[in-house]
């Protein structure tokens, strides 16, 4: 049993659709040990959600997978159906992005939390409902509202129900797929604060997926920057954000308007977001990169260590 909680090893996913092959994830390596929180940041189509669903082996049928994902040493893709069910929701839990569609509209909020408890522990329906009420209270919703339906709650409240349901069985790893993107700033602050407290209280490790760099800076110790399905820069948040090396990370940080300091013109990254249906052979960022040379065009650069807290996949830098 290795001490690493989750190991994603040279992992690739290809979706074969009606018209073309979509290379959503290309040779990704991530490791999370228990109690650690890692941010996965990248733009639309960078393959973040695909990795999250793959970790729970929930990819759609038309996905073909290469490489492996190990949870506590054994691969999620070779787990039996029963093993998978015991892992999902109890060992690894997931929070979904859109609170309006992540809860079943025809079941009460209490039932949707209790169902997770009863799926993993054989407790009576009444006792599961009691624990559900406790969980609702913990995420800041009055207990008596447990028999109300999702459409009677605001977006922020529904996301709290989602969090309560995901923490019902004290998971060891929490995967949050853009949990606050659909929420307003003040509500988002409440949810992030809640996640921070719960993480300290249960020391669950966190895989935070978002396109908002500010959230990563708030919540995570390490960050992996993704572009077109590959991780191009990885390290501690402090190191990567204060001393970004990869042209894409630098481009991202310069393209974001700031809340303080001088308002100089934004540096837009030229070109279009990478089209996962026809990706360049070499470095995926090569078409938009100002500092690329022939090596970038032919070979995909592998991760190189700058220092203990900083890894990067780019020829031009080292």
């Amino acid at each position: 049993m290795s001490d690493k909680l989750l190991e994603i090893k040279d992992f690739s996913v290809k979706f074969s659709t009606e018209y073309a092959e979509v290379f959503a994830v290309n040779h990704v390596n991530i490791e999370i040990s228990s109690g650690e929180s890692i941010g996965l940041v990248g733009e639309t189509g960078a393959g973040k959600t695909t990795i999250a669903l793959a970790t729970l082996n929930l990819l759609s049928k038309n996905a073909s997978v290469k490489g492996d994902i190990l949870f506590k040493g054994n691969s999620v893709f070779s787990m039996s159906d029963k093993e998978l069910r015991t892992m999902r929701g109890a060992k690894i839990a997931m929070i979904f992005q859109n609170p309006l569609t992540a809860l079943n509209p025809v079941f009460t909020v209490g039932e949707q939390i209790a169902m997770v408890i009863r799926a993993h522990e054989n407790v009576s329906r009444k006792e599961a409902m009691e624990r559900a009420k406790e969980l609702l209270n913990m995420v800041g919703i009055e207990k008596r509202r447990f028999k109300e339906y999702p459409n009677q709650f605001s977006g922020g409240m529904r996301q709290r129900v989602g969090i309560a349901a995901s923490l019902a069985c004290n998971p060891e790893l929490l995967i949050a797929d853009e949990p606050t993107t659909a929420l307003d700033v003040t509500i988002q602050a409440q949810i992030l604060e809640l996640m921070k407290q719960l993480q300290q209280k249960y020391s669950t490790s966190l895989l935070m997926i978002t396109h908002n760099l500010g959230i990563i800076a708030e919540l995570c110790q390490k960050v992996a920057v993704m572009y077109a399905g590959t991780i191009i820069e990885y390290g501690t948040v402090k190191e990567v954000f204060s001393n970004p090396l990869h042209p894409y990370t630098k481009g991202l940080l310069n393209a974001i308007p700031k809340l303080e300091g001088e308002r100089k013109r934004l540096e837009a990254i030229p070109g279009l977001i990478a089209d996962p249906q026809n990706l360049p052979v070499g470095c995926k960022f090569e078409p938009r990169c100002t500092k690329c040379d022939d090596r970038c065009k032919e070979f995909m650069p592998s991760m190189v260590k700058i220092n203990d807290n900083h890894y990067i996949a780019c020829y031009a830098v080292n």
């Binding site: 669903l53 069910r85 109890a90 997931m94 979904f96 569609t101 509209p105 079941f107 799926a119 349901a165």
Partner: protein
């Protein structure tokens, strides 16, 4: 909850009100004078005049309409020109037959079709899915006209398993019920299948799997209740419009229901009877749909609140 029921109830009343107006004026469109129809041929002018007064045809329209509405509540639908008996009594005698047919066919339809639709929807592209699609398509293409004749021919005449006409033992009802049930089952299976497919593509289903629930539980508890809403609505509509379905079947199999009655009434140009049957059938439709809406609001709370 109460507010929703009240609003739906008022809507039902409005619709019914307009239906009575439609039925009331429809009869006025009919050629000929009902008074003449009630009397033996060649009746003198004075007798016709007197019958008109008796039928109240001389009074202004709104008075006649008021009398007509009052009649509905006191089950006095006027006189049937063909049977010379009160329309109410004729309908009351025949209604149970049609009701029996309708209830049984809807029951059988649901028992066959709901599981078929759900399984087909959950296993898209499998053999069951293909069979369900074929079953549904064939069923919807079977006009009751052709299906009833075919059933009678095959099971009644050739195989002689079942009696073909009349009412009597339960055996007489099997063929008509099957003829009614198959098209109903076809559309229920179809709606169930597409309901399941849409539901299974929702985020909360992935979330339910991500929380460690088994495929069986997801399909038959969490997705099923969402797919049930369109099914209940459809069953309501089919149950409500059973009178239309039974017309053909009762005529072919000779079941003495109100469907057959409508056909006879039309033959005898018995407009009072036609008018009342039209009213009864829309009354059934509207009432049953009202009940279905309430059932649906228990299953799916969303439409209860907006």
């Amino acid at each position: 909850m109460g507010h929703f029921i009240l609003r739906r109830f008022v809507q039902t009343l409005i619709v019914l009100f307009f239906v009575t107006i439609f039925a009331f004026f429809l009869i006025r469109l009919a050629p000929g004078n009902p008074a003449i129809m009630m009397l033996p041929d060649g009746a003198p002018e004075s007798a016709v005049k007197e019958m008109e007064i008796k039928l109240g045809l001389d009074k202004p329209l709104y008075v006649q309409y008021y009398k007509y509405i009052k009649g509905i509540f006191t089950e006095d639908f006027g006189l049937s020109t063909a049977y010379k008996r009160s329309v109410g009594s004729i309908i009351r005698a025949r209604f149970p037959y049609s009701a029996k047919l309708a209830i049984w066919s809807v029951l059988i339809g649901c028992v066959i079709a709901i599981p078929l639709g759900i399984i087909a929807g959950s296993r898209q592209g499998s053999a069951t899915d293909f069979f369900a699609m074929m079953f549904a398509l064939l069923g919807q293409s079977m006009s009751p006209v052709w299906l009833s004749v075919l059933n009678m021919l095959v099971f009644g005449v050739w195989l002689k398993w079942l009696p073909t006409t009349g009412t009597g033992s339960y055996k007489h009802y099997i063929l008509p019920i099957l003829t009614l049930a198959y098209p109903m089952a076809a559309s229920i299976a179809r709606i169930g299948r597409s309901g399941m497919i849409d539901t299974l593509s929702e985020d909360y289903i992935t979330a339910t799997y991500a929380r460690g629930l088994s495929k069986f539980k997801v399909n038959w508890k969490y997705a099923f209740r969402n797919a049930l809403v369109p099914i209940v609505t459809l069953v309501g509509i089919q149950m409500g419009s059973f009178l239309a379905g039974t017309i053909i079947v009762e005529t072919v199999f000779g079941v003495a229901g109100i469907g057959q009655l409508l056909n006879i009434a039309v033959g005898n140009r018995d407009y009072a009877l036609v008018q009342s049957l039209l009213l009864i059938s829309s009354l059934c439709f509207v009432v049953i749909n009202f009940i279905v809406d309430i059932i649906n609001s228990f299953i799916d709370p969303r439409n209860k609140l907006n």
